[in-house]
């Protein structure tokens, strides 16, 4: 029995963790599309005409990929979609961090807590670190499932 980082024991837990994270994050945005549209607009990266469509579809894509991952359906496809989303989130946060434009992450819907710009910039760094950690889970799932395919 392989007890390494690619063992089924680790892979199953990585899948569940990633799935739970994305389903919860998706639902938090689904309950308030205008709030999420507002957050997307604040990033100043998406053309105004596309903001609403993105705010409506993106959370559902998170939920669909998360549920598929949870039930082990199309695991590699789900993990890749989540990986692409994480890369996009990291890039969006990094661009705004680089230009010192504080934004609320919007990762779990709209925040009603009033924050200072310094607090927002700090939170953005933590959000990037968290997304990088989740990206490592994606890498683990993809590597383990590739090994299963080859075995």
């Amino acid at each position: 029995m392989n007890r390494g980082i690619l063992s089924p024991w680790v892979t199953v837990r990585a899948q569940f963790l990633l799935a739970a994270f994305f389903v919860v994050a998706g639902i938090a945005k689904i309950v308030d599309p205008p709030g999420f549209a507002h957050e997307i607009h604040n990033y100043r990266l998406v053309p105004g005409g596309l903001v609403n469509a993105m705010a409506l579809v993106l959370p559902w894509l998170e939920v669909v990929a998360g549920v598929a991952l949870f039930f082990g359906v199309a695991v590699r496809t789900s993990a890749r979609i989540i990986g692409v989303l994480l890369v996009v989130f990291i890039a969006a946060l990094s661009v705004n961090l680089a230009r010192k434009h504080p934004v609320d992450c919007g990762c779990f819907g709209t925040s009603t807590v009033q924050k200072t710009d310094a607090q927002r910039l700090t939170d953005m760094k933590w959000a990037i670190a968290r997304d990088v950690g989740l990206l490592l889970l994606v890498a683990q799932i993809l590597a383990a499932s590739r090994r299963d395919v080859r075995r």
């Binding site: 549209a37 507002h38 105004g48 005409g49 559902w60 894509l61 669909v64 789900s78 979609i81």
Partner: protein, 214 residues
Amino acid sequence: MDELQRRARGRGSAPAARFLPRAAAMLGAAVVCAVVSNALAGPERHLRWVGDYDSAPGRPAAARPGAPTPAPPAAQPSAGAAAAGSASTRAFPPHPEKPWVEISGDDVLALHERGDVPFLDARRTNVYRQGHIAGARPFSIWESDVDEKVKQFFAEGHDPSQPIVIYCSGGECEDSHMLATKLHMAGFDNALVYKDGYPDWQKRGLPVHTGDTP
């Protein structure tokens, strides 16, 4: 064993060929869910599929699409107008060349004391309920009924050159500027944006209301 290896090789031979249809199916499922949930959503949670958030500040009056002819000024001033004499004497002339002018908390207070100046709250309605400037109306730019509210505001016959105070949360908040642009396109030429927004009003200890009504 050979069969397993063949199948494994087969499965790994064209990953893109499997990934793209499956990813497209998941995206399709997400779009269907989004269409259904948006169709079932109430006015506070409904979104138009195409946003119009790129309205350029300073758009010339000639470029206003379908802007109706402004109605004549409202005939009867509100009761608070009598207090105008005690308020600041600073004038706020119309500025048709630009959608908004930013003003300070002192100016906002003076206009509030006049009593005849409409106050519009551009924040989300659920935030408005928690507390807003006394007399302000909810006009969230992010909710799908904002155009209806602008039309209704227009139909009330407000003087297009009359000051209108718009506010949101101050700081980086742009909602009030976006609402001012929308009003400018509808023909209103004197939108005044409260630069520091509701947090400043609260900090000054000025009158606030909670709930759905102004």
